[in-house]
């Protein structure tokens, strides 16, 4: 039985006359990872700011198991860890000093604080560089320390705002491993990112916001089900295909759309399994493909399908 940890209810926030967040509601269960997605200016950062108690909401509420999160020195903040998008570290203090400082803000001190720092440094694979200054770290190491600083007080909910910006694949995988371990230990995560594959890999649920409103809140599987096409089939020929062939493909079972692409065709399918009957039909027609490939619909397809392709500033 999933236990609800965070409840966000009808949050609104306006700047001037513009509503940055307009009635956002969702929940996060213990041990669950929620991907919070949205185009630039959709209201993600403001929503995260209100959940962390950085920004006062105009209306609505944020609570952890009934304990309200507000700006100021509220107790609920002790249960939340926040990893800002920017590197929030003092470059001229050692990694250990950084961790001890941020731990002190949550009341940790003495031997307990030191022990926890050792644990967290081990978790992010920085134990051997504990006494070095972040100024001497690589980008990936800084990102890992940035996460470590939010873990010192052992939060029940960790909010990560684009935590992998500018890191190499190795560091990104190391960060994912860390998050997997936290999740396994029961820590709930809210993860915002523009890298859809990251969210797809990590999230149990995805909340997509745009224009300050929640567009969709579902599991990844649930989101894919909402798409008219789950898979695509690309077939190339050595000469352009005729309209008769296109119409024929359109009539195959599971095909939801067909488009001519150069000397080939792009076929949208309800499911990946629908590719085989289409290929069989093409073969029966005497068509000789020079190349073919199948692709599953991505989270990016879902995202663009929901938020549109118009540029956001």
């Amino acid at each position: 039985m999933a236990t609800e940890l965070l409840r966000v209810t009808q949050l609104t926030k306006a700047y001037g006359g513009r509503r940055a967040v307009d009635g956002v509601s969702f929940t996060v269960n213990r041990g669950q990872t929620v991907g919070l997605l949205g185009p630039n200016g959709a209201g993600k950062s403001t929503t995260v700011g209100m959940i962390c108690g950085l920004i006062a909401a105009d209306s609505g509420s944020v609570s952890l198991e009934g304990q309200a999160v507000t700006t100021g020195a509220c107790g609920a903040k002790r249960r939340i860890g926040f990893v800002p998008q920017d590197l929030a570290l003092y470059e001229d203090l050692s990694a250990l000093e950084n961790l001890k400082l941020f731990a002190a803000l949550y009341g940790l001190k003495g031997a307990h604080c030191r022990r926890r720092a050792d644990e967290v440094l081990a978790l992010v694979n920085l134990s051997e560089r504990a006494h070095d200054k972040p100024a001497t770290y690589s980008g990936g190491m800084k990102r890992r320390l940035n996460i470590a600083a939010a873990l010192m007080h052992d939060p029940e909910l960790l909010i990560l705002d684009e935590p992998t910006v500018g890191v190499d694949p190795q560091s990104r995988n190391a960060i994912f491993d860390t998050l997997d371990r936290l999740k396994a230990e029961g820590c709930a995560l809210i993860y915002t990112s523009h890298y859809m594959e990251e969210v797809e890999r990590l999230a149990d649920r995805i909340v997509i916001v745009d224009h300050g409103k929640v567009l969709v809140d579902d599991t990844p599987e649930g989101l894919f089900r909402k798409l008219p096409a789950h898979a695509a089939l690309r077939v190339d020929f050595d000469s352009p295909v005729g309209d008769a062939l296109l119409d024929g493909v359109r009539g195959c079972a599971g095909v939801t759309g067909v488009a001519r692409e150069g000397d080939g065709i792009e076929i949208k399918l309800a499911a990946a399994a629908d590719a085989l009957p289409v290929m069989t039909w093409l073969s029966a027609q005497g068509a000789r493909p020079t190349y073919f490939a199948t692709a599953r619909a991505s989270l990016e397809d879902i995202f663009l399908n929901l938020t549109g392709r118009t540029l956001r500033d």
Binding site: T71, G75, K77, A88, D92, E97, Y106, G107
Partner: protein, 428 residues
């Protein structure tokens, strides 16, 4: 409390690791204060520098020679003989502060003019226009020498005797009852001159009678009663430069907050269960602690190396602490109203330079025109500099300290209040 002390400790650690800041806030004020202090009189025991004066002596009379000798013997002047052209060129180049030209016939003409009988001769004084004060000083010393030597010559010298003989001869030609009194005076003068000549002949060392300054001055520097050595120019310069560079530290503190707000650090701090007030309070406390420590180190150097005296240590600590709080609240004000670190730094440095200039940090406020002195009472740095002056070379008591402390604390409350209002408004 644990959180606030951790934040304060962090700020101090970061400050101590910043060598540029230490150089700017500690070494620079000491170096500049030493330089300005030396210019403004040093520690009071240095000899006053002499004024360079060119002398163009075109008169060979004994009177003119004695005037020249008197000027050369004056300890306040360094007199060099030159031609008129040389002298003018040297003054123009700034190598001589003034040039004095004693024209031909000056000795005789001055003697006659002393009794109102002839036209007054003119001594030309050319001077460097950037040295107005020198003109008054040279004119005064010249007057003293001329009066002394011309009157001595007239009452006991060859020139005086000739003038008396000539005048008596003229009177004999135009004998009248109206001239009887003048004839009698000149006769008595000749008798006095003869007696004087006999006295100086028997006593070669004796000086001839003449007009002398009818007074002497007894000069006493009125400063701190406790400071035996008197005024120490370093005391004011250390106060001024200390105030200026510690305010620069306050600017850095404010800019540091703006940079933290631009980066994720500010949000990370505010995400902790301590609130923005605690974060700001911690920054204000660390800023005040750093400012006070800097001030103590700067004045410690001033005391040990430059021999300034802190006459009222308790008052000094009070003025120093209130200035440290003022600096800290100034930093908060910059952080609250600055839009970007770059723009805020430029504006804050400009405002600080204006404040320290009007506060008398560069030159003492008493040199300002009266209306500026009144106006600058509204400038917080004026109270800081005056407070430190009062506790050092002026040697004033706690009442003066309390005035400076009160004024600085009032500005502290004003700055901190404005900053708190602005931060609160932004949080909403």
């Amino acid at each position: 409390m644990n959180a606030i002390s951790a934040l304060v400790r962090k700020d101090i650690l970061l400050y101590l690791q910043d060598r540029r800041a230490l150089l700017l806030n500690l070494v620079m004020p000491i170096m500049l204060a030493a330089f300005f202090g030396y210019l403004f009189g040093g520690s009071g025991d240095a000899k006053t520098s002499r004024i360079d004066v060119a002398l163009v002596l075109q008169d060979a009379s004994p009177t003119a020679q004695k005037i020249a000798a008197g000027l050369k013997a004056d300890p306040n002047l360094r007199v060099t003989d030159m031609t008129a052209a040389q002298a003018e060129e040297e003054v123009r180049k700034g190598k001589q502060k003034a040039a004095v030209t004693i024209p031909a016939g000056f000795g005789d003409a001055a003697g006659q003019a002393l009794f109102g009988a002839g036209e007054k001769p003119s001594i030309k004084v050319q001077y460097d226009p950037s040295q107005q004060a020198v003109l008054a000083m040279v004119r005064g010393l010249l007057t003293q020498q001329v009066m002394q030597n011309v009157s001595a010559e007239m009452f006991g010298g060859e020139g005086g005797r000739k003038l008396a003989d000539q005048s008596l001869a003229d009177l004999e030609k135009n004998a009248s009852a109206e001239n009887a009194e003048l004839r009698s005076f000149l006769g008595n003068l000749k008798t006095f001159m003869a007696a004087e000549e006999k006295r100086t002949a028997s006593q070669p060392q004796a000086t001839k009678a003449g007009l002398t300054m009818p007074f002497t001055t007894s000069e006493q520097a009125v400063a701190s009663k406790e400071i035996a050595a008197g005024y120490n120019g370093y005391a004011h310069s250390f106060a001024g430069m200390g105030v200026q560079f510690i305010l620069f530290m306050g600017i850095d503190m404010g800019i540091g907050i703006l940079l933290a707000r631009r980066s994720g650090i500010w949000n990370r701090l505010l995400a902790a269960p301590i609130g923005a007030r605690s974060v700001l309070l911690a920054r204000a406390l660390s800023g005040a602690l750093i400012a006070f420590t800097l001030l103590c180190v700067i004045f410690a150097v001033a005391v040990v190396v430059f021999k300034i005296s802190i006459v009222n240590p308790l008052g000094f600590l009070g003025v120093g602490l209130s200035f440290a709080l003022l600096t800290s609240s100034f930093g908060l004000l910059i952080a609250a109203f600055g839009k970007t670190p770059e723009a805020a730094r430029g504006m804050a440095v400009f405002a600080t330079l204006i404040m320290v200039m009007l506060g008398g940090a560069w030159v003492p406020a008493f040199l300002f025109p009266e209306w500026v002195q009144t106006l600058t009472l509204a400038v917080p740095t004026r109270w800081a500099v005056d407070g430190f002056d009062a506790m050092t070379w002026r040697g004033l008591g706690m009442d003066a300290a309390l005035q400076a402390i009160g004024a600085q604390l009032a500005f502290t409350v004003l700055f901190a209040g404005l900053a708190a209002w602005r931060f609160g408004r932004e949080a909403r």
